[in-house]
């Protein structure tokens, strides 16, 4: 498959996300910008300008009306997707690491880092109540004293948020009471990314302990494990095939020689039921920081440390491929 190369960021990518219908791809990077592209041909639709620090996370609501970004400039901002206008800015005391709209698009959550004496907080705002935004007063703010939150996603009905922590823990925080409803610890190191399946029944975690694991969103039951020899930066579940894709990298210290030929960093495909790797896609010149499947499962994208986003449309063989069973 010949990939479409998106060159819109000057520094490494931090997150990429498709909107629900898949026609748009959002990318954010350490260069302070958030971009949105047509996924069909890679043409850039626009940029959301305003952040003054690395942008760590992005989300778009189900109707593709609003866009949410969180940044190291200690703010979480709401934008109008179509016009690029900044609708709201919520200031925080430390960098915003992860953010997201709930299923209805009415409630947003974001977490802040443990920095400079400030704790890690998980904040909830209800967008239907403009007072909360004006006063910068979340209706719920949960402190995390132990290990900071490194990645988080909403549950299927907006009742809870599943958060991954620096120490490998996964907690379910209620969106009503803020209590930890359930907790598990299956990973031994930091959770770099959590992504849900398209129907939100499962999620996959990517961890620095070189494994990605699949869980049931509601019960937090551990379903599958995918093991590699490199830290996994991001993982995603295919919407239509029993596949998962993972992207990762080496410890920065250990990247010694680089080949000047085609980039050596690969996205790896595993069979979701057999937990076996069946394919790799090369192309990036640096570790892969984020991966995402198109909601129709016919393509996927990856964002790298090299500043590039690559959109890959699968060949017919990908859909016919089967492991003998």
């Amino acid at each position: 498959m010949k990939p479409i190369l998106l060159q819109g960021h000057e520094r490494s990518l931090t997150q990429i996300k498709y909107n629900r219908e898949g026609d748009l791809l959002f990318s954010v990077a350490k260069d302070q910008f958030a971009n949105v592209w047509y996924s069909v041909n890679g043409e850039r639709l626009g940029t959301y300008n305003g952040h003054s620090g690395a942008v760590w996370c992005v989300d778009v609501d189900w109707d593709t009306k609003n866009v949410l970004t969180g940044s190291a400039d200690n703010s979480c901002r709401l934008w109008d997707c179509e016009t690029g206008k900044q609708l709201a800015m919520l200031e925080t005391n430390s960098a915003v690491r992860t953010c997201g709209f709930d299923f209805s698009g009415n409630i947003i959550m974001f977490s802040t880092d443990k920095q400079m004496g400030y704790q890690c907080y998980l904040n909830y705002f209800d967008l239907r109540d403009p007072q909360q935004i004006e006063d910068n007063q979340p209706y719920l703010s949960i402190p995390c004293s132990e290990s900071k939150i490194t990645s988080a996603v909403w549950g299927p009905l907006g009742e809870f948020v599943v958060a991954g922590h620096e120490n490998g823990e996964i907690n379910q925080f209620s969106a009503k009471s803020g209590e930890i409803v359930k907790k598990i610890k299956e990973h031994t190191k930091q959770i770099n990314d959590i992504q849900t399946s398209v129907d939100l029944t499962m999620f996959i975690t990517a961890s620095k302990d070189c494994a990605a694991k699949m869980f049931d969103t509601t019960s937090l039951d551990h379903i599958k494990s995918f093991k590699t020899e490199r830290p996994v930066n991001s993982a995603a579940i295919s919407p239509n095939m029993e596949h998962v894709v993972m992207g990762g990298g080496q410890e920065a210290m250990e990247v010694t020689t680089t080949s000047t030929r085609i980039g050596k960093f690969e996205a790896r495909f595993f069979h979701a039921a057999y937990e076996e790797e069946f394919g790799r896609v090369k192309g990036h010149f640096g570790p892969i920081n984020c991966v995402a499947f198109h909601p129709d499962g016919k393509s996927y994208s990856s964002g790298g440390e090299d500043g590039y986003v690559r959109i890959h449309y699968f060949d017919p063989q990908y859909f016919d491929f089967e492991l003998e069973a």
């Binding site: 009905l157 379903i223 080949s259 979701a272 039921a273 937990e275 129709d296 069973a325």
Partner: protein, 608 residues
Amino acid sequence: MFLLNFHFILFLAFAELLGDILREKPQEADGIDSVIVVDNVPQVGPDRLEKLKNVIHKIFSKFGKITNEFYPEADGKTKGYIFLEYSVPSHAHEAVKNADGYKLDKQHTFRVNLFTDFDKYMSISDEWEPPEKQPFKDFVIYLKPDNVCPEVHSSFDFYLSRNMTLKPIYFVSTVFFFFFRYVVTFSPLMDTKDDPQAIIIWDVLTGQKKRGFHCESSAHWPIFKWSPDGKFFARMTQDTLSIYETPSMGLLDKKSLKINGIKDFSWSPGDNVIAFWVPEDKDIPARVTLMQLPSRNEIRVRNLFNVVDCKLHWQKNGDYLCVKVDRTPKGTQGIVTNFEIFRMREKQVPVDVVEMKEGIIAFAWEPNGSRFAVLHGESPRINASFYHVKSNGKIDLIKMFDKQQANSIFWSPQGQFLVLAGLRSMNGALAFVDTSDCTMMNIAEHYMASDVEWDPTGRFVVTSVSWWSHKVDNAFWLWTFQGRLLQKNNKDRFCQLLWRPRPPSLLSQEQIKAIKKDLKRYSKIFEQKDRLSQSKASKDLVDKRRGMMDEYRTYREAAMKMYQEQRPLRLELRGGVDTDELDSNVDDWEEETIEFFINEEIIPIGDL
């Protein structure tokens, strides 16, 4: 650098004290496994004890929670060793693994051991009973690596095992095996002036120490070189070549040979012949000498002029000796290299010279054959040349491949095939060559490969990335001799792979001939067996996969059931809009035709 192990000495010092403690110890077996002993702890009086305890605590709590500690005292000061207990044995193991050798300060380097190790030694019975005569069984010599360094020399605990009972014998630095009769061990600090112990030769069958030798610190391993039949061994010291005979371990003819300026020597792998070379000395030119043992006849001497350096390369059977001579010809500044090829099997050992125009990177004889391969030149222009030493007195250059990415040559142990490898800094470039017609069978790459190992039959080659040279991508790959990749095996922290050596064949020559004739019949049987084992392997895999898929599908069914049940909630959350499928609300879609500019092509129509 030799990392030494003071365990043996510690053990002697502890014997008495431990006796008392062990007799009083509680009988729980579990508790003991979590205890460690730390030696070389500073001896302090009560005024500094608190501070010492804090320092120890800080260092050792890294491995786990310390549940108990004991600082034995004598004459008002701590004795210099302490006991620490963890909550689980794994913490104790971690502490031994990581804190042993920790340098607290100039005078104190911690030695950390598991308490159970001492317990083991203490339970050797005091009464000595003569051992029963045991039927002779195969030997296993256990080498327990203590601190493995990425160099040739490592630190080992040496155990000799018979019928699987481990008996620690010595704590040594390096071990060599010869013909399964003798073992040479090297432990420089065990040497004393009167009792040479730096190098010891042991008899494997009896476990007896046969003889000890002194050793200079600047010595170059292996210090002793053995003749191919094990009858002699020799070592070189300043201006002297000392040859010893077995089994007496005494000097041959009761004296060493005085050879002024001797630089290097080596035994022929096929006969009891030593080759050595001596550099230029005023008017006397440098020379290479071949000496027959035990007669000490010089069967060949070759004078060489303007020599800078020499290296001896024997062919595997001792049929040829190649001396690589680096010379600076008179009147020039640069170094040129010649290969002096000694034909050992011909009368009076004639010598032929091959002149090399470029610097030599690697040289290797074909095992069992009369060819050799040379890598020469300078990166990036490295050339691989193949020569054939013919019986008519000529040495022909069969072929030269230029612009190779290679720094090492690996012949198949059966000859004919070889692998040119660019290891480590050359990123693992591989070239598989058939030297019978000098064709490149395949060019491949194992990125960052650090080692190449042929299997003894010459059918397979393993390339590997060792953790000692590269911290990621540790793996070993299996190839056929033609360069076809068969397997990739990733193994975290993989260090080294060695093929099991083959013992000599039990078949007679006639039997081998008969089998070769009948090979078709045998190959049919083997192919059938292969097919059976292959299908069995995949059957296991297939069964495993089926099981996993069934489990997964069951889970998904349950999840989908709950998903359907939640549908009304979803519709409510999104104001009645059905988003369960991508095409759930087609009515809501707008169709828009957009034109994208793709390409511009200018086609000249030609003259109208």
